[in-house]
Subunit: 411 residues, 2 copies
């Protein structure tokens, strides 16, 4: 029998009615002849409640106990889903992470999956079981302790099961009906994409994070797992939602697939830094040691042995970065002034079509210029162009770029 | 190091404040030099919520999935208790049933404990851990599925751990401060007992059920585990609560230790049954098949080959019993009339002193007679005398017997 993996997020199993609705969706796939592996999250709100208790007891908690506590929500929904399916006369049983066993590293609360043995579940399929319900987000360490995969980890569980069982597809049921060309709350013309490539999905992380955990997309790309994102709140046809897949499977696509943004950025510039080998390592080593996550980096052309170094970072890390720079000033580093611009945002256009078609960057810069928006920093990758602009222009920039690249129209 | 087992029920871990209070009690015992095994229930209300969901989904649920769902509450409190102890600088970690592993039979939702290996936890004690926090109520079947021990099963978990680890004592922390001579809500003179024997505790089940699961008392008696029942809501001295122990350890005791009652009983009488061999087996076999739990049985002296058969049963099983009797009437059984008295109650006096001192029964009957209470049925065991009386006299009977046997005064 072909295997299908179906993952239901917290809002899709928030109460018994929603669990029944999800179970009906599973029943539809079973009727088509699939052996189904269902991955469930905790009922929405439950994990937050458990995390809140742990935080209240112990701000610097033992991550092994944290994992033992917060993994319990998924066990409840796994059992309830199995019972609901049985009530529909569909042979089903639940598995907790340690029962599979889904073996992970010992990095508690951020564990990585090492191995998913398939014998146990495949034997039950062979004996006539139609649905294996697996508690998402959790696993077991080599020491026999319960681990969790980090928030949103159930998506990663689902993709890992799809890879291990050679599933035909991994369907991620959530509270949105797919991946959009941009955030519909910012741009009313945002359009749902029928298909998107793994690479684009990763670059659209700032949009995609709301839909799919980034690690699950990386894993799907590595193991060529067809991922589908769709809503559990609507009646679905087979073509519903967004398919995240290999780019070869996307026949036609726009040059640009989406416009992403990141609102709360800041920009820092070190003016007149001595331009000598190792200076970048000194600056960014100190920032890394201070726990600052630097995104874009630009170094000006050197003049008379001195240069300016500009970088962007999350706005809530500015104080830490400023402290780190002032601590090494005059010791490991000389610069004149530290300029800080706390009110910037990042806007990006993403598309695999950019590989074969030039002029995207030029068009993007002209669109922004026509709107009177000044570009502060530019970075590019093979399939993405990002610019740092003043935050107040962010919505305007997203809308203008969405229009200019005609993202409201399908390819 | 001597080992102490401490069990905290649902009301004693109902929220983070109560968990902190319980952890402080554990800290006191650790400071005395004990290695402590803490058994926790789920936060009060949690298990009922989970059971409610299972019942709503599936009235005839798969008990394996029921167990997987309802066992999750204990996992949460075990982790939270371990974190709370760690925060007090007491080395602690949590164990779920399958991690111990606490091996049980496969009788899901009513499993019996088969084995508790001690190596794993003892090794951690040897490495400096001071407290092992174990999720109560749950275990693992030989098939690797999660099992539960039935409601109140955490008491049984606690006693089983005390037996396996040769604990000095098993302290059951609950919301009452011990075992009373009778129910204080019925008799204001009820007195807390300092000590009670295992045998008496078992006979006082109708009182004790509110305090201790009957199975836990049986297990404690078999393995000679000293059980102490005490309140987690009061500051405790070492002498607090009630010690349930071997009768040899009770130097002095009243002839009668307590007065127990069971309010919702009914009495049925089959008039003029043919008195021939096998007739009792026919009647009580049919009742057992119908799921009726019969308590007291009395057969009148036979006259002219016919007799009357009287028995008591829970009042909510009367309809089922009536149906079962009418179904075999004229087929396997002949009787004239089926008399039903739905408004009766059972009152019992219990005491190991009755073994060596006669006259308890006579005194009991006189006390009831003096109050004008008619006795319908009598049964006796070595340490207990029970009578069935009209329900409206129950409180009066309990109070009169409590006074007559001077249970308000210590021995």
């Amino acid at each position: 029998m072909p295997v299908l993996v179906m993952k239901f997020g917290g809002t899709s199993v928030a109460n018994l009615d929603r669990i029944r609705r999800a179970a009906k969706r599973v029943g539809v796939e079973v009727a088509k002849g699939y052996d189904v592996i269902v991955i469930v999250s905790a009922m929405s709100g439950k994990t937050n409640e458990l995390v809140g208790w742990v935080d209240e007891i112990s701000p610097l908690y033992d991550a092994r106990e944290y994992d033992a506590v917060v993994s319990s929500g998924e066990n409840v929904t796994a059992g309830l889903m199995a019972l609901t399916l049985q009530e529909m006369d569909i042979p089903a049983r639940s598995w907790q992470g340690w029962q599979v066993p889904l073996i992970t590293t010992s990095a508690h609360s951020a564990a990585r999956i090492e191995e998913i043995p398939t014998d146990n579940i495949n034997q039950k399929f062979a004996e006539g079981m139609k649905v294996a319900v697996v508690a998402g987000f959790q696993g077991i360490s080599p020491e026999g302790r319960i681990t969790t995969l980090g928030r949103g980890g159930s998506d990663t569980t689902a993709v890992a099961f799809a890879a291990a069982f050679g599933a035909e597809r991994c369907d991620i049921y959530t509270d949105v009906d797919g991946v959009y060309t941009t955030d519909p709350r910012i741009c009313s013309k945002a359009r749902k994409l029928d298909k998107i490539s793994f690479e684009e999905m990763l670059e659209l992380a700032s949009l995609g994070a709301k839909v799919l955990q980034t690690r699950s997309v990386e894993l799907a790309m590595r193991y060529k797992v067809k991922l589908r994102v769709l809503s559990s709140f609507e009646e679905q046809s087979d073509a519903a939602g967004t398919l995240v897949c290999d780019e070869e499977e996307i026949m036609e696509s726009n040059v640009v697939s989406g416009v992403a943004y990141s609102r709360d950025e800041a920009q820092m510039t070190l003016l007149s830094v001595a331009d000598r080998p190792g200076i970048a390592a000194t600056i960014f080593g100190a920032l890394s040691d201070a726990g600052v996550v630097v995104d874009m980096i630009v170094q000006d052309i050197s003049e008379e042995g001195r240069t300016n170094m500009t970088f962007s970072l999350p706005v809530d890390q500015v104080k830490r970065a400023e402290k780190a720079m002032n601590e090494i000033k005059g010791v490991a580093l000389n610069f004149d002034v530290l300029q800080i611009e706390p009110d910037v945002a990042k806007v990006s256009v993403v598309g695999i079509g950019m590989r074969s078609q030039s002029g995207v960057a030029a068009k993007m810069f002209k669109v922004l210029s026509d709107e009177g928006i000044n570009i502060k920093v530019i970075t590019t990758s093979e399939i993405k162009i990002s610019v740092l602009i003043e935050r107040k222009y962010m919505e305007l920039a997203v809308q203008a770029l969405h229009d200019a690249f005609e993202l409201d129209k399908a390819a």
